[in-house]
C-alpha cells in the first residue's frame, strides 16, 4: 500500500499550528481543519503568558501568518470531519466545510460589511462581553483574515452584499463536502474550559462580579472589553479586593473532574500579577490547596508574585459565595488553616476553571476509532505519549491531557516526529517546488520604479484622494509608471502587475496599500514571478496607519499618503537585489548523552534513515532511569529501558560510543565537525565525525543530601534507595514507622526551582509500601503536593490507603534529633501545631540538579547559554522549547529541566521533528536580510560578537577582524547599531537607505 506524503492536523490551536509548520517544513503537504472561522485557538484569547509575561499575540501571530502563507499548508476553516477510512499511511477522509456565506478567495478582510451591518450580535472571542456584527471576523488579527456571516443572528437585509466592493458575499453558499487523502493524522482539538454555571454554589451567571478565568483574561487584554482596565462588571469600578478561587471543576470527585488541570495555578498567578500591574489599587488573594508551580522558572514566578506584587495566598478551599445585594460585593466563607471560620467581603471573584476534554471528543473517537481514557481525554501509552490506540493517528496538546503551552508545543513536535517516521519514504512527494523564471540582472541599470496605489474598495479610496496620490507619484524620481487599483492584492491584479513590469521593464516596484506584515510576502512572490529579485520591492502603509486612523481629516491623510509614497520611492532608489545564502546540509546527527531522552531521540533519527552518532560518558546506556523501577502509573521502566537499549544496539543507522566525551566541536548548522575523546582521555581512533545536527541530552543528577544525617545513619535513605528496597524485596520488615520529607535540595536558596518528579516518586513508593505491608505507618511531610495532571488520582489513592500527609512551612522545616538510638522528627505544622514523630526509617525526596561541571564545560563549546539554575536555556520558553537560539542545536530531557520519563520521551520526539525540518532538505536557505562587515573599517573590538544573540559572528584570529556566518544571522541589526566604527551594515535596511528616508522631511 503506497504511503501518502500528506498529513491532516485537526485543530488550529498553537499545538495544531506547530505540528503543521514542522511537517510543512519537513516536506509534507499539510491540511489543517479548524472548527471556528480562524486559527489561533485559546492562546489567541490570552493577554499575557506565564512565566515570562510575554504578550500572547506578539509571539503567536507571526506563527499564524507563517502558517497562513506556507505553500505546503492548506487551512480548512469552519470545517469538521464526517468520515474516515483507510489505515496508517493511506487514510481517506470526508470533510464537511460549513458555508461562511462569504467567498474566502475574493474577501480581502477590509471589514466594510461588519461596519455597515445593522445587527449587533455577541462576540464569542471576547467571551460574550463585547458586541460584534452579524458579519464578523473572529478577531482583528485572524488568519485567514476573512469575514463570515453568523447565520442565526443575520436578518438577511442584504446590505453587506451591496456595500462589498469585492462582490465576495454569497448568501446561497452551500456547505461543501471534500475528500482528502493523507498518510497520517494529528489530533489537536484542544480543550473546552469547565463551565462553572452548574456549580450554583459559586453564583457564576447569577452574581455579575463572579467571572471565569478566561473572561478575566479578556478583561486584562488591551483589545478586550475594558481596553485592559481591571473593572467590575456590576458598576465599572476598579475592584480593590479580588479573590481567585482555584480548582474550580478540577480535583473535585463529586461535582466535576477528579484530575488536576495542571495550568490553573500558574495562569492564576499570572492574571493576579498582570491585574496588579494594570491597576495598582487591586489587591489579589488566591485561595488554593496546593500551589502547583512545577515547570521551568515557575516557582520563581510564584515567589516574585508574592514578594514583588504582594499577592496573598490562602491555603483553603472556598465552599460557597454569597452576594451582598447592596454593593454586588461577594462574601466568601472559608476555614483558615488553624481551623477558625473567616468571612471576608471581596469586590470581585475569578473562578480558575479547569480544562475539560473538547465536547466533540466522543464523536471524534467514534469517527477515527481511537480510544479515550477514563476522563474522555485521548488514551496514550506512557512510553509513547503521542501515539493513540490507532496506528497512524497521533495526538498532541490538551486533548491528550491538560497541559500548558510549552508542553503542548513539545508534544506537537513529538506527534510530528511520529508522522515523519511513518511517512519519511513519501517525503517531498506531494510538495511542488515552485519554478520561477530566471532572475533578471538589474546590476548597473538605472532604477525604473513602478507604483501601484490601492483603493481597497472604499477603505483607502473613501478617505485618501488616491488619484491625486498617483499623479503626485508620477513625477517622483525615477518613477516610470504609476496607477491605482480597486484591490491590489486580488488575484487578477497580480497578473496585471506582472504584465506591467514586463511591458514597462520596471526594476523596482512599490505598492501603497495595507500593512507589509501580512502582504509583503504576497507581492514579493508576484514580482519574483515577473523575474525580479523579491527584495526590489517596498511597501507604503496608507491604510492601517493612514486612511483608517485619519478618517475625519482626509486632506491630512492624503498629504501623509504622498509623504509615505515619497519616502518609499527614495528608499526604492537605493535598494539592491539580495540573494539568500544557500548552505549544504549534512544529514548525520550527533546525540550527546545516552539516557532515555538521548536513546529516544537517536532512534527517532535512525528510523528515518539518518546516520546517528550517540556519545555516552559512562560505561552503559540508561542514564538516570537506571534507578527507576516503575512509573507512578505502574509501567515497568526497567523492561522498557532494556528493550530500547537492545533496539538501539541493533539499529545499523545508529553508532554508539560508550565511555566517550566531546573533545572539540567546530562549524555551524549542517556543517559540524566533532572530535571525541574517551572518558579516561585515552586516544580515540574514530577521527572526526561530520554531522548537521546536535542534540544535547546530557541529563541531570540526583542531589546528594548533606542534611538529616544522610550517610551518617543507615536509617536515613533517599527515595531511590527506598525504591530499591521495595522493588528488590530488600525491605527490613522490622521497620514500622516511616517518615518522608519532600523538597530536599529543591525550592531553596541554592536551587529555587521545583524538581517536579519527587512528589510522584514519594507517593509511588508509599503506595507500593502500603500494598506490601498495609499495617506499616507512613507520614509524608510536604510543602506542596504537586501531583499535577492525571497523577492526582494516585495522591487520592495514597490517602485512602492510610498514608498521612503533614504540611510544613518553608521557614519552619522539620528537625531530626537523635535521642540515644532512636530518631525523632520535630514538626511544626500550620494545621496541627508542634508534634514529635518517632521513626524507624527517614526517606528524603531529593531533587534533581544539573551536572554543573559538564554543563559549564559543554555550554561555551556549543556556544549555547545556561539559565541561572545552570540548566540549558532554550530559544523561547513557550514557542521554541527544544530549539537553541543557535540554529541546528537542540536540547531534551533533564538537560532542559527536571521532568518525568514520559515527558522526557515526548521532548526527545519533539527534537526529532524539529531537526527533521533541517534534515529533510539537501540545502537550507538562510535569511536574505543579513548583516555584512566591511573589514577595512572593522577594528576587531568584538563588541558585536557579544551583542549577537545567534552567535552568528566569530573573530578571525589572524586578521583580527570579525566574520558573519550568513547561515546563522537572523537580520535583527543589533550588531549594526552597536558597532562603533560603522563597519557593519544590514542589507535591506542599510544606513544609507534609512538616512535617505529621514531626509525626505519636507
Amino acid at each position: 500500500m503506497e504511503k501518502i506524503g500528506a498529513v491532516l492536523v485537526i485543530g488550529g490551536g498553537i499545538a495544531g499550528i506547530q505540528s503543521a509548520l514542522d511537517l510543512a517544513e519537513s516536506g509534507y503537504k499539510v491540511y489543517v481543519t479548524e472548527k471556528t472561522t480562524g486559527i489561533g485557538g485559546v492562546m489567541a484569547q490570552l493577554d499575557k503568558t506565564f512565566p515570562t509575561n510575554d504578550c500572547s499575540m506578539c509571539i503567536l501571530s507571526p506563527k499564524l501568518v507563517e502558517a497562513g502563507r506556507h505553500p505546503n499548508i492548506e487551512l480548512l476553516i469552519n470545517a469538521n470531519i464526517l468520515k474516515l477510512d483507510g489505515e496508517a499511511g493511506n487514510f481517506k477522509l470526508n470533510i464537511l466545510r460549513k458555508a461562511l456565506f462569504i467567498n474566502s478567495e475574493k474577501c480581502t478582510g477590509c471589514g466594510i460589511c461588519g461596519q455597515e451591518c445593522p445587527v449587533e450580535s455577541i462576540d464569542i472571542y471576547n467571551e460574550h462581553m463585547v458586541i460584534n456584527s452579524a458579519a464578523f471576523v473572529k478577531y482583528p488579527q485572524s488568519v485567514p483574515l476573512v469575514f463570515s456571516i453568523n447565520k442565526d443572528m443575520c436578518i438577511g437585509c442584504g446590505i453587506c452584499q451591496a456595500v462589498c466592493k469585492a462582490h465576495a458575499v454569497e448568501y446561497f453558499q452551500q456547505d461543501e463536502e471534500i475528500n482528502i487523502n493523507v498518510g497520517a493524522i494529528i489530533l489537536a482539538p484542544g480543550f473546552d474550559e469547565f463551565d462553572p454555571a452548574p456549580l450554583q454554589v459559586y453564583g457564576y451567571g447569577k452574581y455579575p462580579n463572579v467571572v471565569s478565568s478566561i473572561e478575566f483574561e479578556r478583561i486584562l487584554s488591551a483589545s478586550g472589553p475594558y481596553s485592559g482596565m481591571v473593572l467590575r462588571p456590576s458598576d465599572g469600578d476598579i475592584p480593590e479586593k479580588v479573590a481567585f478561587l482555584q480548582c474550580i471543576g478540577s480535583r473535585d470527585v463529586h461535582h466535576a473532574k477528579p484530575y488536576c488541570s495542571s495550568v490553573c495555578c500558574m495562569y492564576t498567578a499570572k492574571e493576579a500579577v498582570i491585574a496588579k500591574e494594570h491597576q495598582h489599587q487591586v489587591n489579589p488573594t488566591i485561595f488554593s490547596m496546593d500551589i502547583r508551580a512545577y515547570g521551568k522558572d515557575f516557582d520563581k514566578y510564584i515567589i516574585r508574585a508574592q514578594d514583588e506584587y504582594g499577592i496573598r495566598y490562602i491555603r483553603s478551599r472556598i465552599s460557597s459565595i454569597e452576594e451582598n445585594p447592596r454593593n454586588n460585593n461577594l462574601i466568601l466563607n472559608y476555614e483558615s488553616e488553624d481551623g477558625s471560620l473567616i468571612s471576608e467581603e471581596y469586590n470581585m471573584v475569578v473562578l480558575s476553571v479547569g480544562l475539560n476534554p473538547p465536547d466533540d471528543a466522543i464523536k471524534l473517537s467514534k469517527i477515527f476509532g481511537f480510544e479515550l481514557n477514563e476522563y474522555n481525554f485521548c488514551k496514550t501509552d506512557h512510553f509513547t505519549p503521542s501515539k493513540t490506540s490507532k496506528s497512524g493517528i497521533f495526538v498532541c496538546g490538551a486533548f491528550a491531557a491538560p497541559k500548558d503551552i510549552p508542553e503542548s508545543v513539545i508534544q506537537a513536535s513529538a506527534s510530528a516526529a511520529h508522522a515523519n517516521i511513518l511517512l519519511h519514504s513519501a517525503r517531498n512527494s506531494l510538495v511542488t517546488k515552485k519554478v520561477y523564471p530566471p532572475e533578471i540582472n538589474v546590476e548597473g541599470q538605472a532604477p525604473r520604479i513602478g507604483i501601484f496605489v490601492c483603493h481597497c474598495g472604499t477603505n483607502i479610496g473613501g478617505y485618501v484622494d488616491v488619484p491625486s496620490v498617483v499623479e503626485y507619484a508620477k513625477n517622483l524620481e525615477n518613477v516610470e509608471y504609476a496607477e491605482d487599483n480597486l484591490y491590489t492584492c486580488s488575484a487578477d491584479t497580480q497578473i496585471k502587475i506582472v504584465e506591467t513590469i514586463k511591458e514597462h521593464n520596471l526594476n523596482r516596484v512599490i505598492v501603497a496599500s495595507c500593512t507589509p506584515r501580512t502582504h509583503e510576502p504576497l507581492f514579493q512572490e508576484t514580482i519574483r514571478e515577473a523575474g525580479l529579485n523579491p527584495y526590489l520591492f517596498e511597501m507604503a502603509n496608507i491604510r492601517d496607519q493612514c486612511s483608517w486612523v485619519h478618517m475625519h481629516v482626509p486632506i491630512a491623510a492624503t498629504d501623509k499618503s504622498k509623504d509615505l509614497v515619497r519616502m518609499a520611492v527614495s528608499k526604492a532608489n537605493k535598494i539592491e537585489p539580495l540573494q539568500r545564502t544557500i548552505l549544504d546540509m549534512n544529514h548525520n546527527v550527533l546525540v550527546i548523552g545516552g539516557g532515555i531522552s538521548g536513546l529516544s531521540a537517536a532512534l527517532g533519527f535512525a528510523e528515518q534513515g539518518f546516520m546517528t552518532y550517540l556519545v555516552e560518558k559512562t560505561t552503559e546506556l540508561g542514564g538516570h532511569a537506571k534507578n527507576i523501577h516503575a512509573s507512578i502509573e505502574g509501567n515497568n521502566v526497567q523492561e522498557f529501558l532494556s528493550n530500547i537499549i537492545e533496539k538501539a544496539n541493533k539499529n545499523e543507522n545508529l553508532k554508539i560510543f560508550l565511555e566517550s566525551e566531546i573533545d572539540t566541536i567546530e562549524g555551524f548548522v549542517g556543517n559540524f565537525e566533532t572530535k571525541l575523546k574517551s572518558s579516561e582521555n585515552k586516544e580515540n581512533d574514530e577521527g572526526t565525525l561530520e554531522h548537521g545536527i546536535i542534540v544535547v541530552a546530557t541529563g541531570g543528577e540526583q542531589y546528594q543530601p548533606t542534611e538529616y544525617l544522610y550517610s551518617k545513619d543507615p536509617r536515613v535513605v533517599t527515595q531511590i534507595d527506598f525504591e530499591k528496597m521495595l522493588f528488590e524485596s530488600k525491605f527490613d520488615e522490622k521497620v514500622n514507622k516511616i517518615v518522608m520529607i519532600q523538597c530536599i535540595g529543591s525550592r531553596n536558596e541554592k536551587n529555587p526551582y521545583c524538581s517536579r518528579v519527587c512528589c510522584a516518586e514519594a507517593i509511588k513508593n508509599s503506595i507500593k509500601l502500603k500494598d506490601l505491608y498495609p499495617e506499616k505507618e507512613v507520614i509524608v511531610l510536604f510543602r506542596d503536593i504537586r501531583t499535577y495532571g492525571l497523577k492526582e488520582k494516585y495522591y487520592r489513592e495514597a490517602r485512602s490507603k492510610g498514608v498521612m500527609f503533614l504540611r510544613f512551612e518553608e521557614d519552619l522545616p522539620p528537625e531530626l534529633e537523635k535521642e540515644g538510638e532512636n530518631l525523632v522528627i520535630h514538626v511544626d505544622s500550620p494545621n496541627i501545631g508542634k508534634v514529635d514523630l518517632e521513626l524507624d526509617l527517614l526517606v528524603l525526596s531529593v531533587g534533581i540538579h544539573p551536572p554543573y561541571e559538564s554543563n559549564e564545560k559543554m555550554a561555551p563549546m556549543l556556544k549555547v547559554p545556561l539559565n541561572d539554575d545552570k540548566f540549558f536555556l532554550e530559544a523561547h520558553v513557550k514557542l521554541r522549547p527544544v530549539d537553541f537560539a543557535t540554529a541546528g542545536i537542540f536540547v531534551c530531557g533533564l538537560a532542559h529541566s527536571p521532568r518525568s520519563i514520559d515527558e522526557s520521551i515526548m521532548q526527545a520526539n519533539a527534537v526529532v521533528s524539529r531537526a527533521s525540518t533541517y534534515l529533510s532538505k539537501d540545502e537550507i536557505e538562510a535569511e536574505g536580510i543579513i548583516a555584512t562587515v566591511d573589514i577595512s573599517k572593522c577594528s576587531g573590538c568584538g563588541l558585536c560578537i557579544e551583542t549577537c544573540a545567534y552567535n552568528a559572528i566569530t573573530m578571525d584570529e589572524e586578521k583580527m577582524v570579525v566574520e558573519i556566518n550568513s547561515g546563522l544571522c537572523k537580520g535583527c541589526g543589533a550588531c549594526v547599531s552597536s558597532c562603533r566604527g560603522l563597519a557593519i551594515d544590514l542589507l535591506g535596511y542599510t544606513d544609507e537607505e534609512i538616512y535617505l528616508v529621514i531626509n525626505e522631511f519636507k
Binding site: N53, S56, P140, H550
Partner: protein, 158 residues
Amino acid sequence: MEDTEKTEEIQVIAPTDKVTDENWEPKIIAFLCNWCSYAGADLAGVSRIQYPPNVRVVRVPCSGRINPLFILKSLQVGWDSVLVSGCHPGDCHYISGNYYARRKFSVLDDLFEFMGIDKGRVNFSWVSAAEGAAFANIIEKVTEKTRKLGPNRLFKEL
C-alpha cells in the same frame, strides 16, 4: 458623535507650502520595530482608533537596529520630534534586541539633555501587538508635546 453637519477638517499645509507659524503642524518621525510596535500600530488601524496624522513611520526589523545617529540626523534634517518604539522586555522576536536598545537610549537621554536638545523631542515607548489603543495614546501625547515645544529650529540656527 456623528454630528449633523460635515466635520470641518483641520487645514494641513500641503507639502510645498512655506512653513508659517500659525498653520504649522508638527512633523514626527517614528521608528517602529516590525514585530510588536508596528503590529500595534496596525491594530489601531484595524480597530479604526483615530489619532493625529502628524507621524511618518519607518519600519525596522528590531528596535536594536536603531542607531542613535538616526535620531540625531532626524532632528538635524528638521523633523520636529522622534519616536522610537520596540517590544516589551521579553517579547523581542530576536530575544535580546530590545535590551540593547533600552540601554542605549537611556544613555542617549542624558546626552541629548547635555547637548541642549529638549527632552520632549525624543520619545521612547514599548508597545505590544495587542496595544492598539496604547499606540494611539502615545501618538496623541507626543504630538501634543511637540506642538507645545513649537517648530524644531535647533539645527537651523547652527
